[in-house]
């Protein structure tokens, strides 16, 4: 099993990063760190996805000198998918940060638990 994990080292690291991002997301109460955790989680997924496309000894999928045999190039599909993913995750980051700014403007703290408590108190006031 360890041998298999070592051979798939990219995916192994991606999975570990996914777990770390997940734990940061759950444990950190600071919103900014939570967002960083989310970003780590999504990049880990992209690393996992991109490692599916790599094939030893082949080149990036850009046609050079008119060579179009499939055995010369790596798989372009994961690259395209990850490209989409990166752009999606930057839009989410922007949106989460905007929410953070608004929450800070209102409650003057970044601690999500305290913010929730204050909102709760506001409700009954």
């Amino acid at each position: 099993m360890l041998q298999a994990l070592y051979e798939n080292i990219e995916q192994t690291v991606a999975v570990i990063l996914f777990g770390i991002g997940f734990v940061i997301l759950l444990l950190q109460r600071n919103l900014i760190r939570k967002i960083i955790g989310l970003n780590i989680m999504s990049t880990a997924t992209y690393l996992f996805l991109a490692s599916m496309g790599y094939i030893h000894g082949r080149k990036a999928p850009i046609v050079v000198d008119g060579v179009t045999q499939a055995i010369h190039y790596i798989n372009p599909v994961p690259t395209g998918l990850v490209l989409t993913g990166i752009v999606v995750s930057v839009s989410f980051t922007g949106m989460m940060l905007a929410l953070t700014v608004r929450l800070y403007r209102r409650y003057r703290t970044l601690d999500i638990d305290q913010i929730a408590l204050m909102a709760r108190q506001e409700e009954v006031e």
């Binding site: 298999a4 570990i16 777990g19 997940f22 734990v23 444990l27 046609v63 372009p76 989409t84 949106m95």
Partner: protein, 340 residues
């Protein structure tokens, strides 16, 4: 009437509800009874006083209601913040670590069973890929197969992706944009934001401005190069747009909103994103419609490798680049001071 009401209250269903609400309903009733006292507002009092009385009664009831709520909700929360805080904190840490560990463990077990990294015989390396690579140049006219794939073969995904950016920009606009008031004058909040924005910054930083003068044109040119060569070399609309927007952000930082506002206002954002996304949508709609109905689309593919080649890919890259640049710039401007 009161007898009927008490009968109704004694029904099992009502009693169950009362039990569920831990007796607060009974308190509600008590308040209600204390508020409604028929004899209290005699009919001959002048109507204004009666209205005041009624309003006071409503307010009183509302206040009592809130007080009860505060009691009900604050109890548990107060406990979690004081005595229960450490216990809950520890429990949370323990559970999170356990969950994270379990996720890592299970996924590692999965990774060990996944196809070998870098092998040529993985399932992902199938006939789909072969056609993308071997026919891609002839069918899309793009040397960069990734660009050909995301903007021609799987263009619908990319349309969705540009829409994600657009909708995120709109959502951030909802959250952070501070509107002018009805007369078109800046509101108090906007002025406060602006002064807050200048808080740490010298107004005209010579070093920053000098660097910006030097770097902005280079960044813009490089961004344009990346966008325009998207079908020939790595890059394309997304990365090029981000580079262009970083040039714009640098300019904005060095010279302030007034100067940047001369060429980029909210109107510009609206028009550019409308134009670019509209063009993207219409162009792709035409191509999808032709493709699905078996019509010829009459879009020349050009000589592969030349700058004017790849059919719709270059215009689409430009559209995507514009959307990305606008979105990123407006993100930045909105974060800075809630407007452009």
């Amino acid at each position: 009437m009161s007898k009927r009401r008490s009968d109704w209250q004694n029904r099992p269903q009502e009693r169950f509800v009362r039990w569920m609400r831990e007796g607060y309903l009974a308190l509600d009733e008590a308040i209600e009874d204390s508020v409604i006292q028929p004899g209290e507002a005699p009919p001959e009092v002048d109507p204004e006083l009666a209205a005041q009385h009624q309003e006071a009664a409503l307010q009183h009831r509302h206040d009592r209601d809130l007080a009860l709520d505060r009691l009900a909700q604050y109890d548990l929360y107060a406990w979690t913040l004081t005595k229960g805080r450490r216990l809950i904190g520890r429990l949370h840490v323990l559970l999170s670590l356990l969950l994270g560990g379990m996720i890592i463990f299970f996924l590692l077990g999965t990774v060990a069973h996944m196809p070998r990294f870098g092998a040529a015989d993985v399932p992902a390396n199938n006939e789909v890929i072969t056609r993308y690579i071997e026919q891609g140049l002839a069918e899309t006219g793009a040397t960069n197969m990734v660009a050909g794939m995301i903007l021609d073969y799987r263009a619908f995904d990319t349309l969705g992706e540009s829409t994600v950016l657009f909708i995120a920009a709109c959502a951030v606009l909802i959250l952070l944009r501070i509107d002018l008031d009805d007369k078109g004058q800046p509101t108090q909040q906007l002025i406060a934001e602006e002064s807050d924005d200048r808080h740490y910054e010298p107004k005209n930083d010579r070093i920053l401005q000098g660097t910006a003068i030097l770097l902005t044109p280079i960044l813009l040119l490089f961004g344009l190069y990346v966008i325009l060569n998207g079908h020939l070399s790595p890059g394309g609309g997304f990365s090029g747009g981000a580079i262009v927007s970083s040039g714009l952000i640098l300019y904005l930082n060095a010279f302030g909103f007034k100067k940047a506002g001369r060429f980029f206002s909210y109107k510009t954002f609206q028009l550019v994103s409308f134009g670019a996304l509209g063009f993207y949508g219409v162009a792709k709609a035409y191509s999808f419609y032709c493709g699905a109905n078996g019509l010829e689309s009459h879009i020349p593919l050009g000589t592969p490798g030349a700058i004017l080649s790849g059919g719709l890919i270059m215009p689409l890259n430009i559209a995507v680049g514009l959307v990305v640049a606008c979105t990123m710039y407006i993100f930045y401007a909105l974060f800075r001071k809630g407007g452009l």
